[in-house]
């Protein structure tokens, strides 16, 4: 079957991902619909890492020998690739962390300490009810520790941000607005530009969690008008076909320079004396210790791979698959999708409920047919609470997903209904 917008070379792309050849217990082939959780890795990412480990491995920056120079060059080239991937105004504004969670904590953690941007009692931090726990807990810790107040954008019934309260939420007291670009549970794409403009008008900084956006939306920070450009943006390597152990924090030089150091140690210093130390400039200031070298290099290969296919094409593919999936899911009796129903206005993660079957049980039946989905709260408990559900089942596609996999999902959901004898109850 062909669908408008699908990647033309889909069969070729699938060949790039060795795991897609896997068969599971009972000889069932794998149907991987859990890419919002973590994406699969193309051969080129794996090979790049292997080549590094087998031929160029050395510590970076500090090593003067040839392996050290090769390793440093590969690591810094990865920074250039990531900078290009998000259109960063400056390559030194790209900081490597271990995942998106660390990137978000880096920001929340350093805002506690003396500096231009220090947060204190009376200040307000605004987040949203659809955030991933990694963009909630750091701010809860920050506000508990500083006496600042945490405020929340609510959600509309169809899973969008409720912007009707924006003027009460974003005020002169607001120091930081932190929100996700694309929801990992509801799929919602948030109006980052509008909110950033509003936050900047009151002098607040904006942190964008791009963990779900980076895999599927073209991002070009340089092309954004400054008023609408977030000050900080985080994403995670393993969701953009890169390895685990690597994440990215991009920040404008002005804001990063104004933050005090996060972790202290090797590589982040200018000089260390017993009486006190001074720190290196960005990006090194925030990269204490031996960084995830081979992981950064793998991430460089990953974003190159995505860029080669083209983020516009990937986005179109996601939209096509998501639209097809929404349609298919609608045909299943008793199934309710949480979040926007318009494929054009959302990302590729679709969470749903099926009357009478708990998400774990759905996932288990699906798994017996080789279909991998996620069941649970997807690290978004407040969003689940908002919709009065304790957990949900989530399917999430990516550039390697085929329509026939969606067909298999829909069929397996029908099977689940019959397995649990829902029509007899």
């Amino acid at each position: 079957m062909t669908l408008e917008g699908l990647l033309p070379e889909l069969a070729v792309i699938r060949k790039d991902f060795p795991i897609l050849e896997r068969t599971l217990a009972g000889g069932v082939p794998l149907i991987y619909l859990d890419s919002a959780n973590t994406s699969q890795k193309p051969q080129v990412v794996i090979d790049t890492m292997v080549d590094h480990l087998e031929h160029h491995n050395a510590n970076i920056a500090r090593a003067m020998h040839q392996l050290g120079a090769e390793s440093t060059e590969a690591f810094e080239a990865a920074r250039d690739k990531v900078a290009a991937f998000i259109g960063a105004p400056e390559r030194d504004e790209v900081i490597f962390t271990k995942n998106a969670s660390e990137a978000l904590n880096l920001v929340a953690n350093t805002l506690v300490w003396p500096g231009e941007r220090q947060v204190g009692p009376g200040d307000e931090i605004v987040i949203t009810e659809m955030e991933h726990h990694s963009n909630i807990v750091p701010w809860q810790l920050l506000t508990q520790r500083t006496g600042a107040t945490l405020r929340w954008f609510g959600l509309t019934d169809d899973g969008r941000l409720d912007l009707s309260t924006i003027d009460e939420l974003i005020t002169e007291r607001t120091k930081v607005v932190s929100l996700t670009w694309v929801s990992n549970m509801l799929g919602t794409i948030n109006p980052i530009a509008e909110i950033t403009r509003k936050a900047h008008a009151v002098g607040a900084i904006v942190v964008v969690d791009a963990s779900q956006a980076a895999p599927q939306l073209p991002i070009d920070l340089s092309a954004m008008p400054v008023e609408e450009r977030p000050d900080l943006l985080a994403f995670t390597g393993h969701k953009v076909v890169g390895p685990t152990g690597i994440g990215v924090l991009w920040g404008s030089r002005a804001v990063l320079d104004a933050l005090p150091p996060f972790l202290g140690g090797g590589e982040m210093i200018e000089t260390v004396r017993m009486e006190g130390s001074t720190y290196a400039g960005i990006p090194h200031k925030f990269e204490a210790g031996t960084p995830p070298i081979v992981e950064a290099i793998g991430l460089g290969a990953a974003v190159d791979y995505l860029a080669h296919i083209g983020l516009d094409a990937i986005h179109a593919h996601e939209k096509a698959i998501t639209g097809y999936a929404l349609e298919g899911l609608r045909s299943v009796k008793g199934l309710t999708v949480l979040g926007p129903l318009d494929a054009a206005a959302r990302g590729g993660a679709i969470s749903f409920e099926l009357d009478g079957v708990h998400p774990h049980d759905i996932a288990q039946v699906l798994d017996s047919r080789g279909i991998a989905v996620r069941a649970g709260h997807h690290c978004a408990k407040p969003a689940h609470a908002r919709f009065g559900v304790q957990s949900s089942t989530r399917m999430s596609s990516y550039l390697y997903t085929e329509p026939r996999e969606i067909d298999a999902l829909v069929e397996a959901l029908e099977y689940t209904r019959s397995y649990f004898k829902l029509d007899r109850a």
Binding site: H360, Q364, G376, Q390, S391
Partner: protein, 154 residues
């Protein structure tokens, strides 16, 4: 897992307990009771469980649980197995259930002790689901220990 594994996991007994759980609901009692709230952090399953003990006997176990078929059914089976037993007997049953669940499918359950609980033998093969089956049992143990230690209301 294969389709066969699936059937081993979802035994009729489990599905029956799931559809018609025994002892569900939170009940008030005079005397020694303790209430606990346990969560499975990975999946969000929750249980609020109250234990009422009198003269060394588990008089009631009442609970409010949100979760999958396995976790619901296991609370129901727990209720059947421990209410009316002495605390010591009940703890022994708890131990037998724990041993079964942690046995990775290698432990042969004793039907005389575990009754409907033997249906959970299939669950033991699925590490991700063992936590579901144990949620209410762990909560029960915790609450009972509190009553016995005199921490509960009395």
């Amino acid at each position: 897992m294969t389709a066969q594994d699936l059937d081993a996991l979802y035994q009729e007994i489990i599905l029956d307990h799931y559809k018609k759980p025994h002892g569900k609901g939170l009940r008030e009692h005079a005397g020694h009771t303790a209430e606990v709230h346990h969560v499975n952090p990975t999946c969000g399953d929750e249980v609020t469980l109250r234990v009422h003990v009198s003269d060394g006997v588990v008089e009631d176990v009442s609970y409010d649980a949100l979760g999958c078929s396995i976790s619901q059914a296991s609370a129901s089976v727990l209720y059947d197995l421990v209410v009316g037993k002495s605390v010591d007997e009940a703890m022994a049953i708890h131990q037998a259930f724990l041993t079964l669940m942690q046995g990775k499918g290698t432990v042969e359950p004793d039907e005389d002790v575990l009754e409907d609980g033997i249906a959970f033998a299939g669950v033991a093969k699925f590490p991700a689901r063992v936590k579901c089956a144990l949620l209410s049992w762990m909560a029960w143990k915790d609450a009972t220990a509190q009553v016995v230690a005199g921490d509960g209301d009395n």
